[in-house]
Symmetry: D3
Subunit: 164 residues, 6 copies
């Protein structure tokens, strides 16, 4: 295994923004998930608000979508990309006492959108933390991972439960 | 427990940036942790780079520090705060095959810096994902949580293992 | 009336960020209003969504709050200010077929927050335009104005209907 | 008219960034207008500065152009777009005691640039407010609207006076 | 001379945002200079525009002021600071065929504003490059340096010609 | 030589973002250089850190890459561009007691990337200043210039020593 496996470094071991100028423009999709665990009462507050007022999940969704557009500002070696689609599903799960987040991001571009999908997921979950922290400081964000990607030279990849 | 527990909403259930104008300016600290799990080979690559060239952790640390300064841009109802200190420790842990991140943020202000510390931690871990994803798409971010906070009216809070 | 009335220019007529270093830190408030006029059907769609799903006004409110924090990024000679409170009320008005926006912004600082309140109002209204433009391109934003300000050396100011 | 007319929401009524990945890339143009009304003396100050020093309109023009590039940062569900042209005309109108703003924005892209043109117009007018507010707090922004758009599937649209 | 002289690194040699929480808030000033050298014809074009139309220096001044507010976004370990004053003087110097830039920045804060003053100077000069590059690609930015600073624990410092 | 040589102004002498909508998309490259001069002891500290800990140059490189992505945010009339490659080489030069910076930026686009390459160079050098200023306030940034560009209608251009 050589150092050159980490493509964000050149032969001298110095970071660079990898040259993608010769890559084809293809349709690319990335799907990510993550969750935030909380106390039962906190989840109940969120679920009450979701249907009437105090819409925590609606605000988290907007924060996630907006953050996906800032990925290249935040991740040092990310290429800027014009996204064509962002969708965030936030699902309260009473049994496991958490809100689950599933994010899909698409572009037509020369690099993939995994980072944009992870960013959207993460900021949506952090926004839930922010809005509920006054009643529950112990919330934990868990299992932020890529589930699937397609497009580009490396093609299709899918997370397999119990592997990777 | 009433809806009014979620202070980010007014009586009409509408989101607002909470009025902190009458709060005292006190020294505030927040300490957070999180980790990114990966394949043994990926961790080996990171650890090799850390001591010679291809410094993944050094870049992740910078990304996390820079992100902490953008917290109010990303989290909709966060108050902008002039941070006085940000420290990020990234520790490879061979036994659990992960990089652990411990972040401390301080300010003198009218609100706490929990979100800034969580943001720094999260973006540092996402940056590790970005730099290693070409060799390991299955990395997972786990256990992003607040460990401790001090300052302000609500005073000192500490995470207790096994509780929340 | 001399040129020096426009304090954003020095004696040579060159723009500068005015020196506020010797001003006292006082509590400052600004209240603004504005409205977006639309077709009756458009307003009906918004009002339906506000109570069930498709929450246009909730998203506009978040966009306005977030924009208030970016005022100094967008208005060239504005001083950066740490806001302590932002509140946006969006009120559908069936008779006049429009959504009215009333915004309150506060800070403890050396300059006022009129621009932050106007910015929040304007971006909230533009976000309504964005979300409804597919069904109504002819919407118009009207009457964006300061209603009241307090704090600072110039003290209290209030808009009087029919005067300026 | 059904809820689904508001394309920024999916079938569950949740906001998303609409998928434009299959839309053709076409040349798109949007033309907007707006105005800021003020006291005669304020307009006189601006007009004096425009020709000699204290160039309020020149600064407002720059602020508007720069803001057009940040539209996707500010409007939650806007797609990021690489603009190819922005032109802002600021015209003092003595009879109506106001400055009129006419903005043209172009791109080659998958979505239109109406929001970018409205944003540029609005921030240019707000910048005029900022620079003149010390002498005239009662200025009002009026009539911010789309005048014309072309390109894309929905084709050409033009504002007709007295309609919409 | 020990490594610890570079305060941006902790004892482990890892970058951090230095803790300034215990520093006094004092009035701080920084004055910087820099210049851009160009062909005589380019300088003539700028000087013509400065008095009539095509105001290169006015736009460069605005760009520099706006950039000073983004210093903490761009310089990784800079503390965010609320600036109280920014002044940029751009002086065409026919004999040396260049535009000279002199920038003053002030704040009341816990750290100095040297970086903000250097940033404003640099972006003002780069903006001149941008606007004139179509007629003169060989322009060179020279002599960007701190001239003077005051405030804070380290007190007053002044550049002495021929020394450092 | 007419005013129209400065393409960033229209016939009325007003600034605009030049219309590039009809330009061909070609591969474009820009190469820039610049340097920061310092005391021998400062350079020694940097060189020590570069190989062990306290990696000033690694952090400066990241800052430069990230800044290149913000060029259109900072330079008023720059077109936003999706960069495909950024590479920054920072070379300590003991004889001349300075760090030299050589930057290459590429895109496939309708306008060139000279400004992005200059921006990356400048922010990398300013970051070195920031990290070393506690031990050497007299550092000077010199010789920031374009060395070479290719692509686009104006084609290849190369700096010739002793000429412009």
């Amino acid at each position: 295994m050589s150092q050159s496996n980490l493509s964000h470094f050149n032969n001298a071991g110095e970071a660079h923004m990898v040259d993608v100028g010769d890559k084809a423009i293809t349709q690319r999709t990335a799907i990510c998930e993550g969750a935030i665990e909380m106390l039962p009462n906190t989840l109940a507050l969120i679920m009450a608000g979701n249907h009437k007022k105090g819409d925590v999940l609606g605000i988290a969704r907007i924060a996630g979508i907006m953050a996906s557009k800032k990925t290249a500002d935040l991740i040092p070696l990310c290429h800027p990309l014009p996204l064509t689609h962002v969708e965030i599903q936030l699902q309260p799960q009473v049994d496991s006492c958490r809100v689950h987040c599933l994010t899909t991001v698409k572009t037509n571009g020369q690099t993939g959108v995994e980072m944009e999908a992870l960013m959207a997921t993460q900021i949506a979950l952090l926004t839930i933390y922010d809005m509920c922290k006054a009643v529950d400081r112990g919330m934990v964000i868990q299992g932020l991972r890529l589930l699937e990607k397609s497009g580009g030279k490396s093609g299709h990849w899918q997370h397999v439960e119990g592997q990777n």
